[in-house]
Amino acid sequence: MSMDVAALAALRAKIEAHLSRAEGHAVRVTSAEVLAGGACQDNFKVELEGGERWVLRSDARSSLTGSLVRAEELEVIRAAVAAGVKTPPPKWPASGLVRDGATAYFLAWRDGDAIGRRVVKAKELEGARAKLPAELARELAKIHGIRPHDHPGLIGGARAAEASFDPAVTSLERLRARMDMLEPSPSRELLHRWLADHLPSKEDAVLCHGDFRTGNFLVMPDGLSAILDWEFAHWGARAFDLAWICVRDWRFGQLALPVGGFARREPFLAAYEEASGVRVEPSRLHWWEVFGNLAWAVGSVQQAHRYISGAESDLELVAIGRRAAEMEFEALRLVERGKV
């Protein structure tokens, strides 16, 4: 989004009023600026008198199907923080702060790099890249330790806790619904058919981050700084997250390093097994990596439609649509290979 100087000044005044009320004393905002990067939310960097820095996240005008609204996201992050996940705790929720009807909240600012190309290549992050597989695996194990029967009110936890709930079937049905909103595509139907014909056996649902990949965590030279971007959190299969970070597009050119473009699979999976006590079969990881590539192909076309419909005007969105063939080719390659 873009905002002119007057609109930013007005937002600053509203933030000051909100924080002053919440804190019970006058809070001064020294700067508020638009942050790039959010596809489904408007993000701002807010600095308070005294130097404290916060990120303000507010619902965007249009979003992606399947993404959480900020009120739900806030609850997911609170659960993650309670489970000890390395993610900044949310504070000062508000309604109508940035836009009428939009929920917003604040996250403590964390330093670090999230730009994919830098995370996989920057010289000063070389040491971090050696530590990331184990650090990320430990964070995932904590996230996956959050179970639906302990959180029936959290984003449909009651349903996910039922014995009949099957994460793979549910994820495939949701993908079906998203595909039905797009133009008919033989390649995507062929892949969906393969997934439906090769469903993994049922397993218990865990909390999935939903977008756990290079670009959505902050990295400092000494390692992982914070896990971000919970808008696609859902109750699902642990292999969803483990495979998603390996989806080809998140390797940012480092194809031979499947885990996020910085690590081989084995050390990452071994660290996950050690932290979680669960060993995920290779056939499940293969199925979910095919799924992940198809889901991102569908997501790419959806991103383009957000531009085509007139809801958004970012050139990056309209360009992503033409990249769907990359994810579909990769999914087909994995199907033909029969393993990751």
């Binding site: 050139l315 033409r322 063939a325 080719f329 390659r333």
Partner: protein
């Protein structure tokens, strides 16, 4: 009917101008990245001008080999019919279908992502 340059040459000229003359001047990282995207998009349309019609004709021929009773069907008709059949579980395992899907994806990649690595082994 236009005088030279051809539309492909114009689009490649735009791409080259953006890449060589404009992008080095743009210090803002976000905007710089979007100029790079614009470069790619101009080159994509130029590639499509060159091969789009032949790619579509080849795809139609492949699909008419699958649907021998549809000599007049258009590309969109055939795509929709094939998608519907695959969704219903028909034609599963037909090597002509897999071959068509793969050939279509390769043609799309050649236009949109010419540097995409299409080898069977990448890791």
């Amino acid at each position: 009917m236009q005088d030279p340059p051809e539309k492909e040459a114009l689009l490649f000229a735009i791409a080259r101008f953006l890449e060589e003359d404009v992008r080095p001047q743009i210090k803002d990282a976000r905007l710089n990245f979007r100029v790079l995207i614009a470069t790619h998009l101009a080159a994509t349309v130029a590639n499509e001008c060159r091969s789009g019609a032949a790619d579509e004709a080849a795809a139609v021929a492949r699909m008419r080999a699958i649907y021998t009773n549809a000599p007049d069907a258009t590309f969109r008709d055939l795509e929709a019919r094939l998608a519907k059949d695959l969704r219903a579980g028909n034609l599963a395992g037909d090597p002509k279908v897999t071959q068509h899907v793969k050939a279509t994806l390769l043609a799309k990649l050649a236009v949109n992502s010419p540097r995409f690595d299409t080898r069977a082994e990448i890791e």
